[in-house]
């Protein structure tokens, strides 16, 4: 069984704060991490490696420093790592990104492609299904359970009010939830080893697409403007004993006709 896991390096958005005076994002010192859902996806792949001896390749599209998360993936147990990097890929929206990654994946053999459900910097959840479409693969998103039975994939898809069990033929693409797969820690020997391992660097020569499908040119959507939300005028804040607190709340509820 050959598995390819698509991972992304993202800023840890829980660490981003807004400067209360200027209203701008403070990005300095925000750590870069492997996107949590992607890490869950890698965990699924490594569990399949433990169980069935699957071969696990990780691939990331990004700047050269994205190599760090590939090292992390090695230390967790991945077998091969590929960094897909070129200036031509810059400025890509989800459609251009998915075209680029799908074209790169055509160089590889796979029975299963895994992506995270969504990345915490964009939260779109679009690239996985778009890759599946370009490669003509069936997809299941929001995956929280997975096994193989008689050559078919048995997949648990989380929904708003429960879950569905689906049977999927191979090859296929899954977008995985971090909550479904608690990622293992890097092992110590693996960490040492990870820095000696080869990382394949792939450029735009590995992506057989016309230039107008790549990067900003290949992106149908454009950011027209970006802004931080204005801070709403704060209401009254009271430091009072519980008794008075109850009085204040009750009169507010009456004033607003809640009670």
């Amino acid at each position: 069984m050959k598995i390819v896991v698509c991972i992304k390096q993202v800023p840890d958005t829980t660490e981003i704060k807004i400067n209360p005076v200027t209203g701008t994002l403070i990005r300095d010192g925000v750590p870069s991490i492997m996107n949590p859902d992607d890490k869950g996806g890698l965990e699924l792949a490594l569990e399949l490696k433990d169980k069935y001896g699957a071969h696990v390749t990780v691939i990331t599209m990004g700047p050269p420093q994205a190599e760090l998360i590939l090292r992390e993936a090695y230390a967790m147990g991945a077998d091969r790592a590929i960094l897909l990097t070129s200036r031509a890929f810059g400025g890509a929206d989800t459609l251009a990104t998915s075209h680029t990654i799908a074209a790169a994946l055509k160089n590889l053999e796979y029975d299963l492609i895994i992506t995270g459900r969504q990345a915490i910097d964009g939260d779109t959840a679009q690239v996985g299904p778009q890759i599946a479409e370009h490669l003509g693969l069936p997809q299941v998103s929001y995956v929280a359970g997975f096994d193989v039975k008689d050559g078919k994939y048995i997949v648990k898809k989380e929904t708003e009010d429960g879950y569905q069990m689906l049977e999927v033929s191979s090859p296929a693409l899954m977008t995985v939830l971090a909550s479904g797969y608690k990622a293992r820690y890097m092992n110590v020997a693996g960490i040492v080893d990870a820095y000696d391992r080869e990382i394949d660097i792939w450029g735009d020569d590995k992506v057989d697409l016309p230039a107008e499908k790549l990067g900003l040119k290949g992106s149908p959507t454009r950011v027209n403007k970006a802004f931080t939300k204005g801070i709403k005028a704060a209401g009254e804040v009271h430091e009072v004993d519980p008794e008075q607190a109850v009085n204040l709340i009750v009169s507010k509820l009456k004033e607003k006709f809640i009670i």
């Binding site: 994002l25 989800t94 964009g122 690239v127 049977e167 970006a226 704060a234 804040v237 519980p242 009750v250």
Partner: protein
């Protein structure tokens, strides 16, 4: 592509087990606003099986035309079946705009379609407007975990597509006197592409409620801490006719189920009253509740960011105040 060939605002009507989902009606309400600005029609895309009878409801909620795609293949949502049906409809009817609910169905289908149609898609929009000068769709959404808002446009491709989270837009009053046209559409399915089979659908909990529908939410965070203290919130919610919701911390800790989570990775809510108990108010949480009509926050830390969005802030221990408030309200509401 000639943009002038693409007209009208289309809404993907999501149904589950034949029941139209609230987000579809919310989108019809928004589509009505957009179409009125453009001087165009609102068209509902209504796929499913044995659903025709409900087409008139969609007209009552703002649709001018309802295109019904009725097929046994569409009884349950499966990506490829739905993608084929809606793709063929888009090719045949050429919409200018197509809106989807940002649900586990809409967020699965819309990207698949955008790739098949080679057009742009903007996820999880919180605001949709028509630009005054060019009449293009302006789609505003949160990014960077809710830290940043971005307005996105798709000016060179059609249709312009977006998903919108449930609870963000508002549905119109039902108007049964509205008139509209119901149009049947029959796609040709390529069954050789059907590679996913639904084995079973499991509802996790019959007693589940949808917190986006609640008028009053009593919401707990780290400061509430444990299941026993959440029972106090439950008692207050019952007294005041609301439901209990939660911050992400309490979901990650396993105290509350994910469907009760408010925030960027949970649900967007806009109740009449949001009572935040022991919630510090990370930006991701605020993104999911700051549109609430009235926000009351109780938190021990007077510098907690939740107080920046609260109409009334109480510096104190929610675990002490909540039971007292429940008791007091029991007396007040008896009168």
């Amino acid at each position: 592509m000639n943009k002038a060939d693409y007209k009208h605002v289309y809404v993907f009507i999501e149904q589950r087990e034949g029941k139209i989902q609230p987000v579809a009606l919310e989108l019809l309400g928004k589509a009505r606003d957009l179409a009125d600005v453009l001087g165009e029609k609102v068209v509902a895309i209504f796929p499913g099986h044995n659903i025709k009878d409900q087409a008139n409801d969609l007209i009552a909620y703002g649709a001018d035309d309802v295109i019904v795609i009725d097929s046994p293949e569409l009884e349950d949502y499966i990506t490829e079946q739905y993608a084929q049906a809606v793709y063929q409809l888009v090719i045949a009817f050429r919409p200018s705009i197509v809106l989807f609910g940002a649900t586990t169905i809409g967020r699965d289908l819309a990207p698949r379609l955008s790739a098949r149609l080679e057009t742009g898609l903007t996820a999880d929009c919180t605001k949709l407007e028509i630009s005054e000068d060019t009449k293009e769709l302006m789609m505003t959404r949160p990014a960077f975990g809710g830290n940043l808002m971005a307005t996105i446009m798709c000016t060179q491709h059609r249709p312009q597509m977006s998903t919108v989270r449930p609870g963000v837009m508002q549905k119109r009053e039902k108007d049964a006197s509205r008139k509209g046209t119901i149009i049947p559409f029959e796609p040709k399915f390529d069954k050789s592409k059907f590679a996913v089979k639904l084995l079973e659908t499991v509802k996790a909990d019959k007693g589940k409620i949808d917190i986006t529908e609640a008028k009053i939410l009593v919401s707990g965070g780290r400061g509430v801490g444990c299941k026993e203290n959440f029972a106090k919130l439950e008692a207050l919610a019952q007294q005041i006719g609301g439901e209990v919701s939660s911050s992400r911390a309490m979901v990650d800790a396993g105290v509350m189920p994910h469907d009760r989570q408010v925030g960027q990775t949970g649900k967007t809510v806009r109740p009449d009253l949001y009572l935040a108990c022991g919630i510090s108010g990370a930006i991701q949480h605020l993104a999911g509740m700051e549109e609430s009509e009235l926000i009351i926050a109780i938190n021990k830390d007077k510098f907690a960011p939740i107080f920046q969005v609260a109409d009334l802030g109480i510096v104190g221990d929610a675990n002490k105040i909540v039971p007292m408030l429940t008791e007091r309200l029991a007396k007040e509401m008896k009168r």
